[in-house]
Symmetry: C2
Subunit: 469 residues, 2 copies
């Protein structure tokens, strides 16, 4: 196990290349650390020694009297080797190199990276980057992003941790999480991964109690077997959601010039990941959709899905997608279920799956239906498709949210779907605040649920194979 | 050709089953017509003759002295045959039956529909529905939706027309259009399509000058060949974007109980649609993505795509998707292009495709790159991937929008991509207000562009086959 705690809970941070000019990376990084609410000591290091953001700065890290846990490099690549040497002399534990201009440029850049890392190794310094956006630590309340707060929202504290080779992908994902109300524990963008890599980070997160879900964006993985074994072990404890970019020949070439990664044999790797229970996704909103379900609901105990709605069109789309999905099936409702539904609901409802309550449906009809579907053993996941826009439902929203909360339990997952504008998004946000995922479109919801069920199947298979673990 | 103008430009509207109780369909429909700003005469018809929303109501449509173009039914199915007969006596041209409880319920419902339609036919009344949300006409400024304005946003006036069998799908789509700033000309939700169907509507929209793009949501199509021929003819003039639900056996069953439609042989139908240039999509946000590109940009003159970005991760994802896509290819940039780019841009940029300007990129770097890429004959579509969150770019937004407007022309399409939170969405909205589409994620953007290029290919093939048309 790698202990990387000092990355997420540093007792002091130095910013090398700190600048007083807004827009400069060295300014934005320092400002982000301050704005995030970091409560320990911050030391701006600037060759001119000018005052920055109202703080005294130091010409060299060696001029600081205090001990130093973490140093962040926001300086041109050519200064990195010397800066790393000074960090070594100072006894710094970890360095985050935000700057680009290293291996991803080949030639001189690669040589600079080699020299910088040689120095780091000599001093035993662990390095994140270069060519990255660095770290977000919600416990110590800091981030090293050069994206200002007005341009990028940070998520709240939670139990999702993110490892990403692409800073852009990572910060876009963080913003999506923030918009959806999903909380993050730890985030590392590691760019060229000259030192700390996915293996180190995964080993750390495997035993991190604050991390319940791991999201991984990777371009190229040159150490297949070790990674696969590790992923499989972690997968038994917590899900890994992975987007592997650079899967095609052109994609791999783009990855190479991006983070200097080699893509390796893709088909073999993807197969191995599937076997390891890793949840594979292809796009950023697929990450969000899957994580929403995983983070809010219990895992489905089987593949059977029942839909209930007040406007059935999107359920027809979803029905097609369920039939296309490898791990899902439409529930055949129990006869008893249909009898109970008919006892209470009007005749003009359509008592099949999808269960169509029609546009006249009130919150109470949904509440009753969900209560009955919860009892049906042929139903493993309930998907309420809400048309919040419809008059009778839109006028009983408080009642609806009360019902949804009442039936939100650990026994059977609910995955809601609702497409619409401001009002709909507000209702979806309220559901999610109460721990009930609400996805935006039928196809996306079904495809995300399909992946979650595949993971649940993996866990059951593992449990059967090794009853002792 | 079917002249259905009276549906979209009625000189008077009666609401049969108008109610004074908020939440009731007969109240909400009437209120929607008023709230939309309809400037002609409105007549509430209510059996009790009570005052509704400050308006005098009539016990029967026969009590109204005025001529009547359009009647909207918001009454229980059992009253429909009699109401239709009174509409006939009154000389009404068109009836929109919002109410459900007809063929979709079989048995008695089917019989009620048969009787109602028999009466309509006798009087020559054209009927929309039953079991639908009806019409949105942006010219006459009215809609017949029972979704109140606080719960459902209406889009602005524009040149997209929507035909939808599912009211829920249709109104969700309208809200997506409203959020994206896309404008609508005509909208018809036709539910059970007891009379006016896709063929009638398509024939009308084929020659409607206000309609530049047609969106079609269908469940089941029992008249394959006629539809295919019509679609092919329309496709030469304006694109049809179609979501066909009920493609699988279960989906078809769900469609049957939804709108009483039979699904027909799907594989054959889908093949015929492709041949006819119809753009097929599978989900609601796919409609939005494709329509955004079609409505804002010229069609690409070929399949070659060049990307330019200040954060390349999402471009790696997009590169994979371009390689998977059937109709797209990465541009090999002309040597001259690379020379020109290198003349002006810093050395640490990565001069390939994707062109990586790095996180240091300003608006000016983007402007210069796009100007050069516009001149490269190996580039048919330019995809700028913006990381609006990055400091240097976020601080030159006015300049960026100026550049984007300058290079937004009829010669070469631009399709932007930007994933993020509030700030990013604001910039995307501003791009789109200026006629430049900005899609949310790399995979979605590439898949939408792929479909647009397929349509452009269809048009070129048609032009080659029949040079005289």
């Amino acid at each position: 196990m790698t202990d990387l705690d000092f990355l997420f809970n540093p007792r002091s941070i130095a910013v090398l290349g700190a600048s007083s000019k807004p827009g400069k990376i060295g300014y934005e990084v320092l400002k982000s650390i301050i704005d995030a609410g970091y409560e320990q000591k911050i030391y701006p290091i600037n060759i001119k020694g000018e005052e920055i953001l109202g703080m005294k700065s130091y010409r060299s890290i060696l001029d600081v009297q205090d001990d130093m846990d973490l140093a962040v490099f926001a300086l041109p690549a050519k200064y990195a080797p010397k800066a790393m040497d000074e960090c070594g002399q100072k006894g710094v534990s970890g360095v985050v190199i935000i700057s680009g201009g290293f291996k991803e440029l080949n030639g001189e850049g690669a040589e600079l990276e080699r020299r910088t890392m040689e120095t780091a190794k000599r001093y035993g310094i662990r390095v994140i980057g270069p060519n990255c956006v660095g770290i977000l630590g919600l416990d110590a309340k800091f981030d090293t992003f050069f994206q200002p707060n007005y341009a990028m929202s940070r998520p709240k504290k939670g139990n999702i941790s993110v490892l990403t080779q692409s800073g852009t992908f990572g910060l876009s994902l963080l913003e999506c999480f923030a918009m959806e109300g999903l909380g993050v524990s730890k985030f590392v963008s590691y760019g060229n991964k000259a030192d700390v890599d996915e293996l180190d980070m995964l080993r750390y997160l495997e035993n991190d109690e604050d991390t319940k879900i791991i999201v991984l964006y990777v371009e190229g993985l040159p150490y297949g077997r070790e990674f696969t074994e590790l992923a499989k072990n972690i997968g038994k404890k917590k899900p890994i959601v992975m987007l592997k970019a650079g899967r095609t020949k052109s994609g791999a070439a783009a990855a190479k010039s991006h983070t200097g990664s080699l893509a390796g044999n893709d088909a073999v790797f993807i197969g191995a990941m599937r076997q390891s229970g890793v949840i594979l996704v292809d796009d950023i909103d697929e990450v969000v959709d899957v994580v929403k379900i995983l983070s809010m609901q219990p895992l489905p105990s089987g593949n059977k899905v029942a839909m209930v709605t007040n406007g059935v069109g999107p359920c027809v789309v979803a029905t097609d997608e369920i039939e296309y999905a490898k791990n899902l099936k439409l529930s055949e409702l129990d006869k008893e279920t249909v009898v109970k539904l008919k006892e209470h609901l009007p005749d003009f409802c359509v008592f099949s799956n999808p269960l169509d309550l029609t546009g006249s449906a009130t919150a109470e009809w949904f509440g009753y239906s969900i209560e009955i579907l919860k009892q049906d053993e042929n139903v493993n996941t309930i998907m309420p498709f809400f048309v919040f826009q419809d008059g009778p439902l839109s006028q009983s929203m408080k009642e609806l949210h009360d019902f949804m909360n009442k039936f939100n339990d650990e026994k059977k997952p609910m995955v809601c779907v609702a497409t619409g504008g401001e009002f709909t998004k507000k209702q979806a946000a309220r559901l999610q605040k109460n721990g009930i995922p609400c996805l935006f479109t039928p196809k996306r919801a079904v495809q995300a649920l399909d992946k979650v069920v595949l993971y649940a199947n993996f866990l059951r298979q593992r449990a059967n194979l090794s009853p002792s673990t």
